[in-house]
Amino acid sequence: MKKTIFLGTLTAIGLVAGSAMAGTLEDVKAKGFLQCGVTTGLVGFAAPDANGNWGGFDVDFCRAVAAAVLGDPQAVKFTPTTGKTRFTALASGEIDLLARNTTWTFSRDVDLKFTFIGVNYYDGQGFMVPKELGVTSAKELDGATVCIQTGTTTELNLADFFRANNISYEPVPIETNAEGQAQYLAGACDTYTTDASGLAATRATFENPGDHIILPEIISKEPLGPLVRHGDDQWADIARWTLNALISAEELGITSANLAEMAKGTDKPEINRLLGTEGDLGGMFGLSKDWAVKAIAAGGNYGEIFARNIGESTAIGLARGLNAQWTNGGLIYSPPFR
């Protein structure tokens, strides 16, 4: 029995790894939908609504890629992944693209054999504590019980932070954000730590968000971005330049409102090249001329996606901060379409 399962597993790994070698673009076109890995539910980034339709910042990126490749932003199937299962899901070919608040690190890029296609959210790790605890700085957390999602970079940053400050803590490992939220609210841990954006998103779903504060210390750099497997440069290029198209669209003033008009042709060559009225950038990686038009039509430009899902007008209320366009003093910057 044991042996059979073991062999079965090996065979499965072998077969899946074998199929992963084929071109992802052809695979996606052949099956007619994009398989996108997202979180198991983090409001604002990726969470299903009451009708089971996924929505959020990461979800909108998946939809943009699906629109660029297949022409239909709804042609996406979402695979909820935990911090632990996400990389196996991507490496084994179960998903084509992972957009799950994943931090771009050296070892994930080099050792785990993934290609990060850019950064769609510049984040950092923070701590959330109940106000009544009276804590104002993360350095006062000596001896605290900390809820932490396992299999994340935050787990390692946490260990480093407490070691560097020579204070102790008691980690409570949890699998998903929902579990962390439950334990934190029940008081099983004094503080919950994850990316500051995730904390804000989690806090927005609390009954009394005002009772909790996010401590000022940001203890790490967490550049979050979508990623694909190593070894398929064409697919990586498609994902990378779809993200860049959304970012450039904001910079160039292309919005979902004026997209149809701009797609007819403008007097700005960069806009024309992006939207396919001049040259054939799309054809260079096997997509149609108007791929970027479809991608932007799916959910608007980067700024619109940000504002709709996690921006200041939403319950999550994140300011653009580092994620403003470079022209506004942020770090969001797309290489030119040329």
Binding site: L10, D111, R163, A188
Partner: protein, 419 residues
């Protein structure tokens, strides 16, 4: 020469491998074996090839790199700078801890419930039947999650103990604190301790105090056993059993107390300091939840096994014992249970194995067992899926085989000896 000798026996033709019944079964087995080996070889080379194509050569070198993560419950020293292999060992120890605690508790509850289910008292036997049927018919994972949720949600948190108008208080003269994070009880400490003895080049150390205490306790038990043997001999020779219980108690208790006193034994009490209780022994809520759920779940199966074992003993045995004038309790412990053990032990082994393997559900409540460390965080942080899972399977296999080895040895010692 040999060729001629062979020919004279009628010779061996290739066709005989199939048509001769003497060789046919052998032929089929060898062909099947070759086929199986080819399949295994194909799978291994295919996996290796695919991993090589991905650029991931199988290697266990990652085990000696710093793990980078902390583990809340570690029986031996551990910090985030320790290598992954040490994290795996910590996980293994946590697995064994909960497995041993679970097996002991499940056996005690299981045997009690199994016997009570046969009780003549209608109420008691019905109650036990209800317990058995509820617990064994709901997946153990749900029980684990339920127990954990109950602990977290219903018990007071450390902050409830704080301040002038605290809503919760410690029990037993401020020595025990039951919180949603776990159970804090006093810990044994030694004022004049002997220190620790490092083993395997400081890989881990054992407490000499504990060793001294255990050695004296063991010696006491041994002497007590010798006294019992002597009492047995006297009883066989004279028919009168000398009163020995006070000697036996004294040789066990007195030296142990003496050792504790000379080492300066005292209790360290937990006290609320900062965010948590400090001091004392801390049993995490996740461990308690896992332990209770696994014990209560497995106990139902053990209860049924015990009940089956008892029912397997012919009623004549009970009646014969009763005719000798034995009371029901003594009939059970002297006549029925020893015979029932023969039926009970073999299925009991598989229940112990099940409990140990089910402990890998620990991650559901964040208990850092082997699955949580080696096959969880280590796997995830290093991306070494194949190596971690293979190593994890190997370790579980080794644990299971050891349990079954020990239990088989015990089974051999209680089974019917045919003379």
């Amino acid at each position: 020469m040999t060729a001629i000798a062979d020919a004279s026996k009628g010779g061996f033709r290739l066709g005989m491998l199939i048509y001769d019944t003497r060789y046919r079964s052998m032929t089929i087995q060898i062909v099947a074996l070759i086929g199986f080996l080819i399949a295994v070889g194909w799978i291994i080379t295919n996996t290796a090839q695919n991993l090589a194509d991905l650029g991931k050569q199988p290697s266990f070198g990652f085990l000696w790199e710093p793990s980078g993560y902390d583990i809340n419950q570690h029986i031996i020293d551990y910090n985030s700078q320790s290598p992954h292999i040490r994290a795996a060992v910590i996980g293994l120890m946590n697995t064994l801890l909960v497995a041993v605690m679970g097996c002991v508790t499940a056996t005690i509850i299981g045997v009690t419930v199994g016997v009570l289910r046969l009780s003549n008292n209608w109420m008691v036997s019905r109650l036990m039947a209800v317990y058995v049927e509820t617990f064994r018919n709901i997946p153990v994972l749900l029980w684990i999650v339920l127990f954990n949720a109950v602990i977290i949600e219903s018990l007071p948190q450390p902050k409830d103990f704080r301040g002038a108008n605290a809503t919760a208080s410690m029990l037993l003269n401020d020595s025990v604190a039951i919180t949603g994070r776990g159970l804090y009880v006093p810990e044994p400490l030694f004022a004049k301790g002997l220190g620790d003895l490092p083993l395997f080049g400081n890989a881990f150390s054992i407490s000499l105090d504990l060793m001294a205490f255990l050695a004296v306790l063991g010696a006491g038990l041994l002497i007590s056993a010798l006294i019992k043997k002597r009492a047995d001999r006297v009883q066989e020779a004279t028919g009168l059993r000398p009163r020995t219980w006070h000697y036996r108690l004294a040789v066990v208790v007195l030296p142990a107390v003496l050792v504790l006193w000379s080492l300066g034994f005292y209790l360290g009490y937990p006290a609320l300091k900062g965010f948590n209780f400090q001091g004392g022994t801390f049993m995490r809520g996740s461990l308690v939840a896992l332990w209770l759920a696994l014990s209560l779940y497995t106990a139902t199966f053990i209860a049924e096994i015990v009940r089956a074992g008892i029912l397997a003993i012919s009623k004549g045995q009970t009646e014969a014992a009763a005719a000798l004038g034995l009371r029901p309790r003594r009939i059970m412990s002297l006549v029925i249970l020893p015979q029932a053990l023969r039926v009970i032990i073999p299925p009991l082994i598989s229940q112990y194995l099940n409990l140990t393997k089910n402990s890998s559900l620990a991650i559901a409540v964040g208990y850092m067992d082997l699955t949580g460390t080696l096959m969880g965080i280590t796997l995830n942080q290093t991306g070494r899926e194949l190596e971690s899972v293979l190593l994890g399977m190997l370790i579980y296999l080794a644990i299971s085989l050891s349990i079954s080895g020990v239990m088989n040895w015990y089974n051999n010692s209680v089974k019917l000896k045919e003379r």
